[in-house]
């Protein structure tokens, strides 16, 4: 596996000392990893995500994604970088209400050949189990369906990195689980995913690596094992027992 993301002693300072600043963060993410980033609000985890996505530029230090140094790019180059390399899934879907599902999915593909983009869009909708709503408008869909449309839109340009910021935050448990299972299936096909969540249960269920951010710093970077353990090695139920 090769390195996809590298932050080296990266700092982001906001005017007026706003919260969410980053204070000397170093991090690498390998291709194919499913990584979760956790931290309280204001810890800097969203800033970290925005820097990696090329939505924001560091005050100092480097941000390199897929070999491109984002800190040196101009606005136009950053926009191209985002379109070609980053897929974004948000908590509140961010679909355009006056476009159909398929049109929403095709937004990032504007500059590609219409027919090949449309074929890929339909294929993604099929893969995500929402082919039948291709011509409907977002307001007619359930939250879980809307998030799947957002995932299809995020994948249309085959991004090297999928960033998911609290993707289940606005969904009920069942739809949330379905959305996470879809992300997991993409990961199994090799998709690199960075998931921001405050939910430790969700993070450890899907991600084998959990990064904790606090006060603008990475305070822990845990790589977890995936082992089939015997029940008794995970839970021990006990109580009073008769003594012989």
């Amino acid at each position: 596996m090769s390195e996809l993301v590298r932050l080296s002693d990266t700092t982001k300072v906001y005017q007026g000392g706003m919260t969410g600043a980053l204070n000397g963060v170093s991090l690498t993410v390998e291709e194919g990893e499913f990584t979760a980033v956790m931290g309280p609000s204001g810890s800097g985890k969203s800033t970290l995500l925005n820097l990696i996505a090329g939505l924001d530029r560091p005050t100092s230090g480097g941000v390199t994604v897929g070999g491109s140094d984002l800190g040196r790019m101009g606005e136009a180059a950053l926009a191209r970088f985002r379109r070609d390399h980053i897929g974004f899934v948000f908590q509140f879907f961010h679909l355009l209400p006056n476009l159909t599902v398929l049109e929403n999915v095709l937004i990032p593909a504007q500059l590609r050949s219409r027919t090949s983009a449309e074929a890929r869009g339909r294929e993604l909708l099929e893969q995500l189990g929402i082919a039948e709503v291709a011509n409907r408008y977002p307001a007619k869909l359930s939250g879980g369906q809307q998030q799947r449309v957002a995932i299809a839109r995020a994948l249309i340009n085959q991004p090297s990195l999928l960033l998911a910021d609290e993707p289940t935050g606005a969904l009920d448990t069942r739809s949330g689980d379905q959305v996470m299972e879809l992300l997991m299936a993409l990961h199994r096909q090799g998709q690199t995913i960075l998931l921001v969540t405050h939910d430790a249960k969700l993070a450890t269920r899907y991600a084998a690596r959990v990064i904790s951010v606090l006060d603008g710093k990475i305070v822990d970077d845990a790589r977890l094992e995936t082992a089939e353990r015997a029940a008794a090695d995970v839970i021990r139920v006990r109580g009073e027992e008769a003594r012989p």
Binding site: S212, E225, A232, P244
Partner: protein
């Protein structure tokens, strides 16, 4: 939970001999509580002495003796089932004592202790997630619910560690 009521509960379904009680008890708990057969026999003898279970018939093949729950046993079992869990909360893990000692010995610098503990809890959460998924796949909803209880406990432990870490770090910079 007490083994005594576990044994009575299983006998309330149907008469069983000692080994069947052991096997069913362990299967019910999905391997999260292993008991040895000696404990089962000791428990059965005490329950018999207290009139809560009684033998059915004579000893059969290889000395096997079936037990059933008595009326008094059924009554005691129902009372136990209806009673909410009360009393002090049990904190059995070493971390609680480690925390107090480390606060005295390390002048309040708990950072390394807390982050190692958090890692251990995250790993446990991952293991529990897998166990829950396995229980659901096996159709053991009851066991999956038990695992969910453990999951939520571990989530609370993580929140606690996070809270302590936040207090520690802001205390340092102040």
């Amino acid at each position: 939970m007490s083994l005594k009521y576990g044994v009575m509960g299983l006998l309330a379904e149907e008469p069983l001999h000692g080994y069947e009680v052991k096997n069913r008890f362990e299967a019910m708990l999905g391997g999260t509580w292993e008991v040895n057969i000696g404990q089962i026999y000791t428990t059965l003898q005490r329950l018999e002495r207290d009139g809560l279970v009684r033998p059915v018939g004579e000893r059969g093949d290889r000395g096997k003796l079936l037990y059933e729950v008595s009326d008094a046993g059924r009554k005691a079992l129902n009372e136990w089932l209806a009673q909410p869990e009360s009393g002090p909360q049990e904190l059995r893990e070493d971390i609680y004592v480690k925390l107090l000692l480390a606060a005295r010995l390390a002048n309040g610098n708990l950072g390394p202790l807390l982050s190692r503990q958090k890692r251990a809890y995250l790993q446990r959460l991952r293991d529990l997630n897998q166990l829950e998924a396995r229980a659901r796949k096996d159709g053991r909803t009851d066991l999956a619910n038990l695992v969910r209880g453990a999951l939520l406990h571990t989530e609370a432990d993580i929140k606690w560690i996070d809270e302590l870490s936040e207090m520690g770090i802001s205390g340092e910079s102040a």
